[in-house]
């Protein structure tokens, strides 16, 4: 069993849902990322989604755009991100790490080569936002060949036929985008999400995570009522923005702890 499956199995046995924080690798400084990852785990993170900085983050709102920009000031590339994961793995062999980003930085390395490097670094899953299943055949095959999970998005606009197709291809978990919009938007409708998750369960066997627009413990609790995992990104990135390099880790740990408590 890989780390993602093991994590969901452990949580299920404990009657908990997964808390998945997102931060962008290299934000605010590449030297801090591994430390911040450990800080997320200290707060109770079950899985870490680590953003790959990209110059043109089309699916992201201003907060995560700024995180990418801060990382790119230091020229953080995907190979640097993999090196960070490798360092993280030296002292953490249990918390799954899922890379999240855009396809081009992966494409430029080449899918099989990237998959090997990612597996070697200790990555567990990969979500490329701008690569829907139609275009993901080669990348998914390369990832699965080294036992990495290709994680796919499902949106409120995804029709049933596509949901079935995504269900067939998904590994690890699927990520349900809770609203029509970019990351960090404010138009989340909890009732709507709950209904949608219930409908998705008919087709989807892997755990269902929900993200985009979840900002606090109260919403986390509500979403955790139906979903298997709750992803929080922009709110954590804002915490990094408001912190100093000295306080960032501690602030993240505290915030994740309140969110994790809402998934128990």
């Amino acid at each position: 069993m890989n780390r993602i499956a093991a994590t969901f199995a452990r949580l299920k046995a404990a009657g908990e849902k997964a808390m998945i924080p997102f931060i962008t690798a290299g934000d605010p400084h590449p030297n801090l990322t591994v430390d911040l990852m450990h800080g997320l785990v200290d707060g109770g993170a079950d899985i870490i989604e680590l953003g790959i900085p990209f110059s043109d983050p089309m699916a992201d709102g201003p907060v995560i755009q700024r995180a990418s920009e801060r990382a790119l000031v230091h020229k953080v590339g995907l190979r640097d991100v993999l090196a960070m994961v490798k360092t993280f793995r030296q002292s953490n062999q249990t918390t799954p790490v899922v890379l999240m980003g855009y396809l081009n930085p992966v494409h430029v390395i080449g899918y099989p080569q990237f998959a090997r490097l990612a597996a070697d670094a200790g990555v567990d899953g990969v979500l490329t936002v701008d690569c829907p299943p139609e275009e993901a055949v080669e990348l998914s095959a390369a990832l699965e060949a080294v036992n990495l999970d290709p994680v796919f998005l499902i949106a409120p606009t995804t029709p049933e036929a596509r949901v079935r197709e995504i269900a067939r291809l998904a590994r690890g978990y699927v990520y349900y985008v809770s609203l029509k919009g970019v990351t960090g938007a404010g138009n989340l409708d909890i009732g709507d999400v709950a209904r949608k998750i219930a409908a998705l369960r008919q087709f989807i066997e892997v755990p269902i995570g929900v993200g985009f627009g979840i900002r606090d413990a109260e919403t986390t609790r509500a979403i955790a009522g139906t979903a298997d995992a709750v992803v929080v990104g922009s709110r954590l990135v804002q915490e990094i923005e408001s912190a100093t390099p000295e306080t960032a880790r501690e602030q993240l740990t505290r915030l994740v702890a309140t969110l994790k408590a809402a998934t128990r």
Partner: protein
Amino acid sequence: MSQYDFPDARGHFGPFGGVYVAETLMAALDELKAEYARAKADPAFWQEFNYELKHFVGRPSPVYHAKRWSELLGGAQVYLKREDLNHTGAHKINNAIGQALLARRMGKKRVIAETGAGQHGVATATVAARYGMECVVYMGAEDIKRQAPNVFRMKLLGATVVPVESGSKTLKDALNEAMRDWVTNIDSTFYILGTAAGPHPYPMLVRDFVSVIGEEAKVQMPEMIGRQPDVVMACVGGGSNAIGTFYPYIDVPGVRLLGVEPAGDGLETGRHAAPLASNAPVGVLHGSRSYLMQDENGQIIETHSISAGLDYPGVGPEHSWLKDSGRADYVAVTDAEALAAFHDCCRLEGIIPALESSHALAQAVKLAPTMAKDQAILVTLSGRGDKDINTVAGLMGLTL
């Protein structure tokens, strides 16, 4: 010669094109694809499209023999396809009308667009006014500075112009922001994409709507000179005026297709926006796979061109395919060369060309003298240069 038949059902031109977007947009793109398939088979749709092109745009646009210039160059005869004479002053209106008619068929009351030089923004604002639609145009803050007259035109036409402050503050960033708007307002909004790039079906439908350029020329050239030209040329930003010129000629043997990209300060300086001519690697941006200016980490490189409409790191996927298949060639001319051609065109022919189009003209200046006097070059003059007079004055050290 086998029939050229691209893209395939999933939007691929060989290894290029495709649909590389976030899941939220997939259903909308499928809907657009389905609606376009219905429209394409509906004679009433084309009847209305052609009516608009004739009565609102003023088509057909003439082909004009640039006689004095040709004589001076001393080689091939240069003919200009006058898209500058279209209503709103560029080829962009052809595409904007086609997409607005699709939007209306789909019941969308709000349209959005990205714009670089402002020509596509003006075209979209124009058709939105004409069809009574709400219109929001995203434009890089840098481009808003260089294209002030077009910004005001859009406002006069009732559009909201949103300055984009992210990234390089140019066309690619405007496209990012338009995508973000679209994903947020997917139910109410039609995205009128301004060039032959983006996710399928955009490169195909933009091509189809702009192909009126080449279709007309194919009839006009034999009327003028008794045959088709030896070379057909156009400038390439995202590639819409070029593909609109080339597409009807792809299956015509003996006609050389030549795309002209902006070399900025010179290809060797790295400060340009010429992914094809500079042999950039293949990448994925804005919904499709194509040649793309990027660094070793796959980050998109900031581009440079004197012309805002060509200042884009990618290129429509069909041009990548035409390059690889050898059917078209792509070269680049510098800012300085384009500017010289701009002035020549003003003085010798009495036409103020857009800076974008001046790139194609500059290549004709290089090519014509190497050809025989009885040969013919057709250059698509994609737009007029009224919007550029502030930029050119600035370069001459003047303020207007």
